[in-house]
C-alpha cells in the first residue's frame, strides 16, 4: 500500500488546476456543445445555421435515411481497423528490436522512428503520390491504407516500445527454465504482458484514422471517401452545418462506445499486467 498522497492546500490547488480547466472549458467543452446543438438546428438560407430558435431533426432524418452514410461509416471503421492491425504487425517486431538493443542505441532508434514528423505531413503524403503513381496504385483503397499506416506507424511503435522495454528478462528465463520454447514464451509471456501497449497504441492509431480526411482525399479514389471527408465536406463545401454536426456526433458516439467496450474488455482480460504499464 502506498502512503496517502499529501493534498495541496486549497489555494495552491486552485491556482494550479484552474488555468487548464478554463482552457478546456473554453476551447473544448463549449465548441463540443455548439456542435451538439448545431446537429439539431436547421440549415440557413445561405448555409451555416438558420437563425435561432428553429429546431429540427432534418439532419438526422437525412443521415439515417440514406444508406450511403452508413456505408461510409462502415468503410471508415474497416479502414481504421485494418490500419491498426497492419500497424500492430509492423510495429511489434520493430518495437521489440529497439527494446532489446543496447541502452545507448535505443534513444537513437526511437529518434529515427519519430524523425518523419520533422517534415510536413502533406509533403509526406505528396511523396506517396510520387511513389504510388508510377506503380499504378494511386487513387485505390490500397493507397489509402498505405498512407494511413505510414502516417500512424510511430504512434504504435512508441507505446509498444515503452511497454516491451519494461519487461523483466527474468520472466522469459523463468518460462524457458520451466519448459517453454521460444514460440510459447512469446505467446504466454511477452504477448499478454504487452497488451496494455497494444491497447494504447491501437487507440492512438484507430481514432485519428477514423477522422482523417487528407490521406483519403489525396491518395484515394472517388469511392474511397471516409467520414472525415464527409464531415469536412459538409462544413466547408456544402455549408450544411447541421448534417456535418450530426455526422461528427455520430462519430464521437461510436468512438466513445468502442473505447468503453475495450476498457471493459481490458479490465477483464489483462489482470496483473497493470504492474507493467
Amino acid at each position: 500500500m502506498s502512503a496517502p498522497r499529501t493534498q495541496p492546500a486549497g489555494l495552491t490547488k486552485w491556482a494550479v488546476t484552474l488555468p487548464p480547466t478554463l482552457f478546456l472549458l473554453a476551447f473544448f467543452l463549449v465548441p463540443a456543445l455548439i456542435v451538439v446543438v448545431a446537429g439539431f438546428r436547421e440549415t440557413g438560407e445561405f448555409g451555416g445555421l438558420a437563425p435561432w430558435p428553429q429546431v429540427s431533426l432534418d439532419a438526422w432524418r437525412f443521415l439515417l435515411g440514406d444508406v450511403i452514410y452508413l456505408e461510409v461509416f462502415a468503410r471508415s471503421f474497416l479502414v481504421a481497423a485494418l490500419t491498426t492491425l497492419i500497424c500492430i504487425v509492423l510495429a511489434y517486431p520493430l518495437a521489440w528490436l529497439i527494446a532489446r538493443s543496447p541502452k545507448q542505441r535505443r534513444d537513437v532508434l526511437v529518434l529515427l522512428v519519430i524523425l518523419p514528423f520533422a517534415s510536413n505531413f502533406l509533403v509526406r503524403i505528396y511523396a506517396w503520390i510520387m511513389l504510388l503513381g508510377p506503380a499504378n496504385l494511386l487513387y485505390t483503397p490500397l493507397a489509402v491504407i498505405v498512407g494511413m499506416v505510414y502516417a500512424h506507424l510511430p504512434f504504435m511503435v512508441l507505446p509498444l516500445y515503452t511497454n516491451l522495454e519494461k519487461h523483466d528478462p527474468a520472466l522469459l528465463e523463468a518460462a524457458q527454465d520451466l519448459g517453454a520454447n521460444a514460440w510459447t514464451r512469446f505467446w504466454r509471456v511477452t504477448f499478454p504482458l504487452s497488451l496494455p501497449g497494444i491497447f494504447s497504441g491501437s487507440a492512438l492509431v484507430f481514432i485519428p484514422v477514423l477522422g482523417m480526411f487528407a490521406a483519403p482525399e489525396l491518395l484515394g479514389g472517388t469511392g474511397d471517401i471516409l467520414i472525415g471527408n464527409l464531415i469536412k465536406e459538409q462544413f466547408l463545401d456544402n455549408r450544411d452545418w447541421p448534417l456535418g454536426s450530426a455526422l461528427a456526433i455520430m462519430l464521437t458516439a461510436c468512438v466513445l462506445a468502442l473505447a468503453g467496450l475495450s476498457a471493459w474488455a481490458a479490465k477483464r482480460g489483462m489482470h496483473g499486467t497493470e504492474a507493467i504499464t
Binding site: A170, A174, Q176, D177, L178
Partner: protein, 361 residues
Amino acid sequence: MALLEIRKLTRRFGALEAVKDVSLAIEAGEFFTLLGPSGCGKTTILRMIAGFDAPDEGEILLDGVSLAGVPPERRPLHTVFQSYALFPHMSVAGNIAFPLEMAGKPKDEIRRRVKETLALVHLEEKTESFPHELSGGQKQRVALARGLVNQPRLLLLDEPLGALDAKLRVEMQSELIALQREVGITFIFVTHSQQEALALSHRIAVMRDGRVEQLDEPDTLYSAPANRFVADFIGKINLLDVEVVASSKARLGLRAAGLGEIAATDPRPITVGERGAFALRPELVRVFGRRESADLKNRFEGTVRELLYLGDVTLYKVELADGCVIEAMMPNAAPGRAKFHEVGDVVTVCWRHDAGVYLRN
C-alpha cells in the same frame, strides 16, 4: 553414481575467469550449497547447470549423461530465481500450473498437482490471487511451489531468501529444510550468507575467485576450516600469524609474533620452522579476572578494550601485552559466571590446547 557431476568446469568472460576448473559431485536427495562472496562464480555455475550459460571447458553430467547442447527448456531441472520471476499476468494457480502445462500433463492431473503443491507451501487460500497481491514471503512460496510442482530431478535456488527481511528469512529457512525433506528433491542452493548455508545444507562448497576453496559438511567447515579464507568467511574467528617451533606426536608449539608460545594440536606431520596461521573461534576463548584460577595451557594477560553485549553472549575484544587483539565470546548465563569484565579491566584470556586450528600457508 552421483546425480549431478561437474567436471573441470571453466567459464571465461573476456579476460576474467569467472569459474576455474571446478569439479563437484552432487548426490540425489542432497541439500547442496554453493557459498561465497559476490563475484566468486557461484551464480555462473548455477546458470551453466540450468543451461542459460555454457562452459568454455569441462562438462556437466546429469545421471551420467552430458547436458552439453541441451537447451534450458529441455533440462529436467527448475530454478527458483532471486527476484522470484513470477508471471504477473497469471494467478498463483496459473503460475504453478505453467510447468505442468509445458510438460503436456492432462488437465485433471494439473488441477490435482497444483492443489497438492499449494497445500505443501501453505498457500491454499491464495490460489486465485495475483503476484502483486502477495507479500514477499508468499511470493517466495509460490516461486518454490512452481519450481517443485513438476518434480524436477534438481531444484536450483539462486539466493532465494535474499529479498526477505531477517525474521522472515529465518522462518523460511526452517520451511525450506522441512520442504526439501518432504519432497526429497535434490536442492542446489546459492548464497553469500554463511549463516544460511550452515543452517540449511548437507554439504557446502565454499568458493572464492571461481575456485572451490573447501567442500565439506557444515560442522567440519566451521570447526576445521581448510585455509585462512574459509576460516575468515565462515563465522567469527581470530587469525594469528604463527611459526611452528615444536612438533611431535600431533602436538604443536606455535609462536605468534610477540605473544609467546601457543600449544595446539594437529594430526598432520608438520615440520618445525613452517609458517602459517592459527585460527581460534571466539566462543572457545575464556576470559577470567586476574585473581580467578584457570589451569589451561594457553593463557595470556591483556586488557579489555571493547565489549559488545549481545543478550545471550558478550563479545570481548582483549588487547594482549604485545598489542595483538583476541576476540572472546562468553555466554552471559553460564553457571558460575561471576561478573562482567569492564572496558579497561586487566584479564586473562585462555583456551584449551585443542581449541584452535593451525592453517598452513
